[in-house]
Amino acid sequence: MSQDTVIFDQAGIARALTRIAHEILEKNKGTEDLVLVGIRSGGDHLARLLRDRIVEIEGVEIPLGTVDITMYRDDISSRGTLPVGKTEIPFALDGKKIILVDEVIFTGRTIRAALDALIDIGRPDCIQLAVLIDRGHRELPIRPDFVGRNVPTARDEDICVFFDHAQPIEVRLVKS
């Protein structure tokens, strides 16, 4: 743990989320047809914070959902059974612009699974991706639309986002 590097403190995360909220609104020219879907678990907390910021900026509360991607993983046989969480998207996705939210993008496989899950549930107009950290090493042609910070990492390093009661408090680079 002595080799940990703090990438983001609480204030840094807050500033990054505020910027991302602005960028989302700018790119989509407002909140029309916009929905937020966070990837369980972590991305769902960030998605809720983004929704709160959009309320502050635009005065509009956009729909918020959660997707669990366990059932869409491509590594079930090698990972053993992982607990399956609930997918909760209490609104139709057809014709919506989905902002998919995750903490960290790495190989891109989680996002691939989430895209499959969303497309099984409905037919959105488009899906955009917002992440707090992009650490590189992509294995699939997937690119985030909104990034809190790009952090170059080695493969054996890890990025950890720490939450306290669903509030992100710190992001660390952990060397193994």
């Binding site: 366990t70 059932m71 869409y72 053993g80 059974t81 607990p83 969480g85 099984d120």
Partner: protein, 310 residues
Amino acid sequence: MSFRHKHIIALRDLSKDDIEQLLNTAESMREINNREIKKVPTLRGKTIINLFYESSTRTRTSFEIAGKRLSADTVNIAPSNSSATKGETLADTALNLLAMKPDIIVMRHAVSGSHYFLAEKVNCSIINAGDGAHEHPSQGLLDMLTIKDKFGRLDGLKVAIVGDITHSRVARSNIQGLTKLGSSIFLAGPPTMIPPGVERLGNVTVCATMKEAIQDADVVMMLRIQQERQGKTLMPNAREYSRYFGLNPQNLQYARPDAMVMHPGPINRGVEMSSYVVDGSQSHILKQVENGVAVRMAMLYHVCGGTAVE
């Protein structure tokens, strides 16, 4: 805490944690069943053989749908009576099926314990869809999920089970599972249908009358009476059985006002339950069927992952 069992043969073999995990997963699976596209790719490329030595439309269909919703390839095999008389043993049948490289065999068999025998012969996962008078774990789990849906818990509930306990694998799985999750079980039935030592199977009380069993019960679970199985010696006839052990709106009043009524099906209307109760507001019988698919998806999911860990 991860699920580490390669097979699911009996709830007796599972811990409280294992059962809770299966129930939690089943709750997540239910969301898939409510989608327009009821399919996820989780078990893509996995092969599931449904090997049913006893006919069962309900359980087999439920397992088949569960497998298909998880994108597994499912094959149904019902060894005909003729192949049984030709003398192919269960072990030989299993070895032949293994040549098809299944990942899971879901089996129903008339002989108690035959799944343990099969598990020694094959390298795939085994799920018990009912063995003799031993256990029927998927039924037990779906019953528990249905109860949990209504009360939000299983701990501290009074569950009455009425009928032929001796020949009931449903009763045994429920006794094993419900006891582990903290329910109290009260049994009633003619003494000819109460097996010796059943109190020691779990948190079980054997009651002298049906009234005593369902008094203040949160759940009243009725078992199917099969004239062909109970024969001529366990009870005089369906008419007299129904008089003393049938559930009707009158004796249901002994239970708590919000008590739920359950039955593993298929129901003999007018024998173990009157139609007023079957179709009444307290009946959760169709909920049980609906939960069956979700529970079986959870079972398939957990044994499939478990294989790789070992």
